[in-house]
């Protein structure tokens, strides 16, 4: 519990309406989209950058942890206040400050919903490509902090490929500005990249400058159906090696197909071992040619059928299957570990084989789906947390998925972040020197350690 004096100080800055301290509020704000929880001592909703500065100064003075939160859709425990203190909910700062069609940049406050920017950019003929499935809920501050991805990542890249600069409040209340609106700024190291994916451990982001791209003229959507999931995975690496870069290359296994079909009844091939949802975009002539070639590759790799959408409505139908995997999870079991194990795309077939083995070994349902085109897979392990023995098997399976991913030269996080959930494995990925450097950088930028403590390089549990 915070002292009444501190609460008074916080209220003086943002107004009493924007400071919450009731026990019920603490329970609500103890969560994100993971299974973990830890209660804060107060929730503060700043409405402006000046208010953020003042709140951080108060926290610094009283040595209170500060954990930033956007929409709380994080899948790695980023906004969970592990050490109590203040949860800084950034959603009131939700203005799009600028969309500049000439220089193709946008400047936004951290609380802007990603979809709001996508819409604003579309209005001036531009595209903001990162499209996490939480697009309509998650904030750009969160997207940048966790480095969110999405299906379009194959061609366009993930959030970090679009961040040109940020402004952030450091733990002493000073404001640092990194990067600028010039795409190609190289005055010194890439400080912007340091903040991208730093998960609120280095500073409180108060504005973000993002790169936008032209909207492609046309796109073509197709679905390739396979008897064997392995053949679908092989298609991914063969396609990428052919020189064609699809916009999207999504994979679904039999469990995903069957679950979606049970839920929606849209005529999916329930006997198929796997399928790929592929999209190519660009100028008309190239798109036609690319689509034809991709279709040939699919068949050569063993696809029994390739469906090409002829109209936008048909394309939407094909997409429906992919979009509905998440909803269909609940049919198999109530709880899940939603992973984002990412490997070099050439190794997607190997990862798929390994995950199939893990599934067999621990006898837990695992959905194998994801953005296969950039190696960003979503092996999703299902269980019921009330069944202790099953939960343990799920945890063991999860552990092996992490280890296999790292052994294949992959990364723990393709787009969900490290936070708390994957922190035990971070040292295994960075190596000892890298891990120490991570700690040193954090100490240099946040010497008092009040920003999102206990996460990433400062995990206090056992390290693998």
């Amino acid at each position: 519990m915070l002292k009444p004096d501190v609460i008074k100080e916080l209220s003086a800055v943002v107004g009493a309406d924007h400071v919450m301290t009731a026990n019920e509020d603490m329970i609500i704000y103890s969560n994100d989209a993971t299974m973990f929880n830890a209660k804060p001592e107060a929730i503060v909703q700043p409405g402006s950058r000046d208010e953020v500065v003042e709140i951080v100064k108060i926290a610094d003075r009283h040595h209170l942890p500060v954990t930033c939160r956007g929409a709380g859709t994080c899948l790695s425990g980023g906004p969970i206040p592990l050490k109590g203190g203040i949860v800084l909910e950034m959603t009131r700062m939700n203005r799009i400050l600028k969309v500049d069609p000439v220089n193709k940049v946008a400047v936004v406050e951290p609380g802007v919903i990603a979809f709001a920017l996508t819409t604003a950019a579309n209005k001036v003929g531009l595209l903001y490509p990162p499209d996490p499935s939480s697009l309509k809920e998650s904030t750009l501050g969160g997207n940048v902090s966790e480095c969110a991805g999405g299906p379009k990542g194959v061609k366009y890249g993930i959030t970090r490929n679009f961040v040109l600069g940020v402004e952030a409040v450091l733990s002493d209340g000073s404001i640092v500005k990194t990067g600028n609106e010039v795409d190609g700024d190289m005055a010194g190291p890439d400080w912007t990249m340091l903040f991208t994916g730093s998960e609120g451990t280095l500073g409180v982001i108060i504005s973000i400058t993002l790169r936008l791209v032209p909207i492609p003229a046309v796109k073509k959507t197709m679905m390739a159906i396979y008897d064997r999931l392995e053949d679908a995975a092989k298609t991914v690496s063969v396609t990428m090696a052919s020189g064609i870069i699809p916009t999207t290359l999504e994979i679904m296994d039999n469990l995903s197909i069957v679950s979606v079909e049970n839920y929606l009844k849209i005529g999916l091939p329930v006997k198929a071992g796997g399928l790929l949802l592929i999209e190519v975009d660009g100028v008309e002539s190239t798109v036609e040619e690319d689509a034809k070639r991709v279709s040939e590759i699919c068949k050569k790799c063993g696809a029994s059928e390739v469906k090409m959408a002829k109209t936008p409505a048909e394309a939407e139908e094909l997409w429906l299957a992919r979009r509905s995997i998440n909803p269909a999870f609940g049919q198999v079991a109530p709880c899940k570990f939603a992973e984002d194990a990412t490997v070099p795309r050439s190794l997607v077939p190997v990862l798929v084989e390994k995950v199939l083995e893990i599934q067999k070994k621990y006898d837990v349902p695992i959905f194998i789906c994801g953005h296969a085109g950039d190696g960003n897979m979503h092996p999703t392990i299902m269980f019921d947390k009330r069944n202790k023995e099953q939960k343990e098997r799920a945890e063991k399976a999860l552990h092996e998925v992490h280890i296999v991913t790292l052994e294949l030269g992959g990364t723990l996080s393709g787009e969900h972040g490290i936070g708390f959930a994957k922190a035990p494995y971070l040292r295994a990925e960075t190596g000892l020197a890298g891990y120490k450097l991570g700690q040193e950088i954090k100490k240099a930028v946040d010497p008092t350690g009040i920003l999102n403590p206990g996460k990433m390089f400062f995990y206090e549990g056992e390290l693998h």
Binding site: I28, A71, E137, S324, N326, C335, R386
Partner: protein, 434 residues
């Protein structure tokens, strides 16, 4: 179900929530308040905390369960299909059992139980309403003279004039079809809003039915459908009223049951299932529920659309939550409206988003419900249409209140009124031709 079973069912539902936060982009209360406390996932989290003993059923918890329109949008959008609406009703019931009902609601719901007393009360209320309300000069309704926050009256709020001559007093119990041969008998469940507040759409329903060859029966013993009670957590009153209605309905011979109120329809068709747990009338209800149709469904299925006359109206349509998500009715009214010659129909943005009324929600959180309603009104006015058509009197009341306050020229009509006007137009033309 006993308490242990009930708890298990609730747990089973709560655990389905993955806390993904999809409800954030859809919950009208969240979109107006921008506070995590109001999201569906947080209400599920609150329920989980109560079950696990992390928190008591405090007034704070109770308030979080209260701040929900029960519009069911979260459930319709939820990937895991979590029935948050049911969980909230369970939460409200538990909180009421623990903390009791608010005195105003307690009095109101006790009144509902005594059908004749309730009827007398509302009639008397209608006679004396001028003491409390003052009529607006344009006849569009009335505003409270004094502030009665307990009764959900806000001095800004414009309520419809209560009728001194309720629908069920205007009409006999049995009404014969206007055609030489009767096609069968329809039982009309009027509900309270049509009976006391908006009798005209009720008369329109009867007119539509009889001119299409159906006999109508309006059971005298029918009472409030119970929605205000059981959605507030007063399950006991809810069950009492449900049983009373089931008895009243099953006492009359009928082929179909027609409602013209979204909440009554949803209650009779689906919601009773949850409150009739352990009731001896459960199987009787199951039989009844298969016969329940909203007037728009009935018209589309059993009435002659080719006899609809020309109506030079420009209209848009608002989906009441309890019709679109409660009864799965959304294409029917549109199809009917589009088949009326001369009528121009323009779809509004977010037609199926809640108007903010939510029954007693708008009484307790008037300013918030107004804020939610304002978005609806903007979308209505953006269509440039003259009329808003809808199938729920509660939506109608709240939307009319908003339109009047902003001096809008848009008028609200019940779907049944429009249909009947179109039939009238056709018979007038025929009459002239003769």
């Amino acid at each position: 179900m006993n308490q242990t079973e009930r708890r298990r069912v609730i747990e089973q539902e709560v655990i389905k929530c993955s806390r993904c936060g999809t409800c954030r982009s859809i919950c009208p209360v969240f979109l107006a308040e921008n506070n995590e406390n109001t999201t569906a996932r947080s209400k599920n989290r609150m329920m989980e905390a109560v079950l696990e003993g992390d928190v008591e059923l405090t007034p704070g918890v109770q308030e979080r369960f209260e701040k929900c329109l029960l519009c069911k949008a979260c459930k319709a959008h939820c990937g895991s299909g979590v029935a948050t609406d049911k969980l909230i009703m369970e939460g409200r019931a538990a909180a009421v059992a623990h903390n009791g009902l608010s005195p105003a609601k307690k009095m109101a719901f006790t009144g509902l139980r005594y059908r004749k007393l309730f009827d007398l009360g509302l009639r008397t209320g209608a006679l004396f309403q001028n003491l409390i309300f003052k009529k607006l000069p344009d006849g569009r309704g009335c505003v409270p003279r004094i502030l009665l926050p307990g009764a959900g009256l806000n001095q800004r709020r414009i309520m419809p004039n209560m009728t001194t001559n309720p629908l069920r007093s205007r009409l006999p119990k049995f009404i014969k079809a206007k055609t030489p041969v009767s096609k069968g008998r329809v039982l009309f469940f009027t509900g309270c809003m049509l009976n006391y507040m908006y009798p005209e759409p009720g008369e329109a329903v009867v007119s539509i039915l009889t001119r299409n060859g159906w006999d109508v029966v309006i059971p005298e013993e029918q009472c409030c459908c119970g929605t205000p009670a059981f959605t507030s957590g007063d399950v006991e009153t809810g069950r009492f009223l449900a049983e009373q209605n089931i008895k009243a309905i099953s006492a009359e011979k009928h082929d179909h049951i027609v409602t013209a109120c979204a909440s009554c329809g949803a209650a009779l068709k689906h919601e009773y299932k949850h409150i009739l747990d352990n009731s001896s009338l459960l199987s009787t209800w199951q039989e009844i529920s298969t016969k329940v149709l909203d007037i728009s469904q009935f018209v589309l299925k059993y009435c002659d659309l080719s006899k609809l006359g020309k109506l030079p109206f420009k209209v848009t349509y608002h989906d009441p939550c309890h019709l679109v998500r409660g009864m799965n009715v959304s294409s029917e009214p549109r199809e009917i409206l589009k088949s009326i010659p001369g009528l121009k129909f323009v779809e509004m943005k977010d037609a199926n988003r809640c108007c903010g009324a939510g029954g007693s929600f708008s009484a307790v959180y008037y300013e918030l419900s107004r804020k939610i309603n304002d978005k609806k009104l903007d979308n209505v006015e953006d269509t440039g249409m003259d009329y808003l058509v809808t199938g729920c009197s509660s939506c109608r009341m709240h939307i009319t209140d908003g339109l009047t306050q902003r001096n809008s020229s848009v008028k609200v009509l019940h779907t049944a009124e429009v249909i009947n006007m179109a039939y009238d137009a056709a018979s007038r033309k025929e009459g002239k031709a003769c």
